[in-house]
Symmetry: C2
Subunit: 353 residues, 2 copies
């Protein structure tokens, strides 16, 4: 037996795969403060149990805090879940932080709940001085996300779905990690919880077919698996490939924007130093369509302070300005700003313009 084989003897298959993923991503095995997001559902319970098993085996030595948010949308059941997570996690030897509420009256319940959850995680991580937050999204969640984005007509950015590791918004230097995303099927998390003799909490929203995600999980993915039993893996693989593509094209777009930067002239002095500096039409026109459109999006985001309500049609309208040979042409943007072509340059003009 090699050292590696010896250290894994007696480990469950789930813990073994979790450890392999942890190492593959180059995450520290010990000494780090980490926050684990635990709803009490089967996926997050499996993640917590997996970390606990690896800790007992001496293979992980994290300073782990369990974070649980009760959105306050499920009344007594939400409170029961919170108490259950507290008891279970303490029983496993972990510290627990619980929070409640945070979902205001926003247009989309799923989005509002998601935002409240991430705000709570960032806050908990900051308070704990944690280096990372781990969340229990699985390969099934990834496949579902790809399908939902595909149904919306997304390109590479949307189809990239969730990444394995990224900076947590609002969390400073804290990273968000998804240790189950690359490999764990829902059957794996369910099987492992059963193996460990623990019943996870059930969220009745997971059975509510008025949510598109629930219908994707229950109807669409099973149908895809009649074509290819590894359909979820195929979708996740596409997401990984497209994420690399999108990252490369974004880097290209940022370079393109620098290269196309045109010197401001006296007549548009008011715009000098603006985030959306004047662009050389000739530079942009010579670039490939895909990085050019990404550069235009990036430029509009800088000028407008975001891309709210900006559609592909607006980007194409700005791109169209590059074709004309006469000056003075304009593309209108949502919210009153506009882009003008003047003497071989594109100018971003805010509402004041």
């Amino acid at each position: 037996m090699s050292g590696r084989q010896r250290e894994k003897a007696g480990l469950s298959g789930f813990a073994r795969r979790l450890l392999a993923e942890w190492r593959r991503r180059g995450w520290a095995a010990r000494g780090e403060r980490v926050v684990a997001a635990v709803s009490g559902g089967v996926d997050s319970l499996a993640l917590l149990l997996g970390v606990e098993e690896l800790t007992r085996a001496g293979l992980l030595g994290l300073d782990l805090t369990v974070a649980h948010l009760d959105h306050g949308l499920r009344g007594a059941r939400g409170q029961e879940d919170a108490r259950w997570v507290e008891t279970t996690a303490r029983g496993l030897g972990f510290e627990v932080v619980t929070g409640r509420g945070g979902v205001g009256a926003r247009d989309n319940l799923e989005q509002a709940a998601r935002r409240a959850r991430y705000e709570f995680l960032a806050e908990t991580a900051r308070a704990a001085g944690a280096a990372a937050v781990i969340v229990a999204h699985t390969l099934d969640d990834q496949a579902e996300t790809v399908l939902l984005r595909l149904l919306r007509g997304s390109g590479a950015d949307g189809l990239s779905a969730m990444c394995h590791e990224r900076r947590l918004e609002g969390g400073g230097e804290v990273t968000l990690r998804r240790p189950l995303l690359a490999w764990a099927r829902r059957a794996d998390t369910e099987g492992y919880c059963r193996e460990r003799g623990l019943d996870a909490r059930r969220d009745e929203m997971n059975d509510d077919e008025s949510f598109a995600r629930v219908r994707v999980r229950r109807r669409l993915l099973p149908l895809l698996e009649t074509f290819n039993p590894r359909a979820a893996e195929a979708l996740a693989r596409a997401a990984d490939l497209l994420r690399d593509d999108a990252a490369a094209l974004d880097a290209w777009a940022a370079r393109l924007l620098e290269e196309a930067r045109a010197a401001p002239t006296e007549s548009d002095e008011g715009e000098a130093g603006a985030a959306a500096w004047p662009l050389s039409v000739a530079s942009l026109a010579a670039a490939e369509a895909s990085p050019r459109r990404r550069a235009i999006r990036l430029w509009l985001a800088r000028g407008r302070g975001g891309l709210r309500r900006v559609e592909l049609a607006h980007v194409l309208a700005v791109e169209k300005l590059l074709e004309g040979t006469r000056g003075g042409r304009v593309a209108e943007l949502p919210g009153g700003a506009r882009v003008e072509r003047r003497r071989g340059r594109l100018l971003f003009l805010g509402e004041r313009g």
Copy 2:
């Protein structure tokens, strides 16, 4: 009424949309010799009738030849179809060329039939001195193709599916055009044939659910449309966006390969001038993952004369060579060739190496 409005008065909706697409793509409206691939099915019949309607209205003036291939797989029914296409197309005032056979004993029937069809079209186009071949793939075909590729785990290249216009393989300067791809749903082609009072031929293969494409059409796409009635359009839009991405990344990869070209040294003189020239490890290592992997694929294709049996795993094995600091490391390729890292360069070594 404007001139444009007047010229379209009395046109069917189908012909109007066909004309709009023809103009949007910048295809010549008259004077060109064009070959139309007509199986006799509802899509190709609708395309032919649409061209005929626009010709009668004086809006298109093409020198059109109808090409029909009987694959010889359906016995008497195939021959009936061929006669029917001949009679119908002649009745509409078009020349007809028919062919038969060409499907050898190959592993995949669909692929073999497809290859025979395209060889026949290229031959017909060359013989007719045609500038273009038009085929009747619809938006439904495009959505089906995206789904089939997705089920296989394809990245941007596969998910780009069919393009609206490209060079026809084996057809010299002949272009392949798909005038229905961007907009026509199967309901449009069926409705238009009905409007024109013609019953298209029925291919029983279109009802055979042992073909994955038939199951995608009958089961998967209808389920997707319960989520989004415009799911087919969303899939086609993703394909268009990813096609632009893939084209830009391929151009980047080709540039990267030039930039990474390392001077051959005396010891590998035998390889000088090879299509897969030595590459500088430092140049490749500095590049982004997505264009780098594409550059490696391109390089392997040049060295091996193709990518048969080359999988993502082989590309990643070659990429892995870039990480090491010691020389002399090797990645094996299917068919006996290999890549070696020597003194800061990657060398492609054929079977002789």
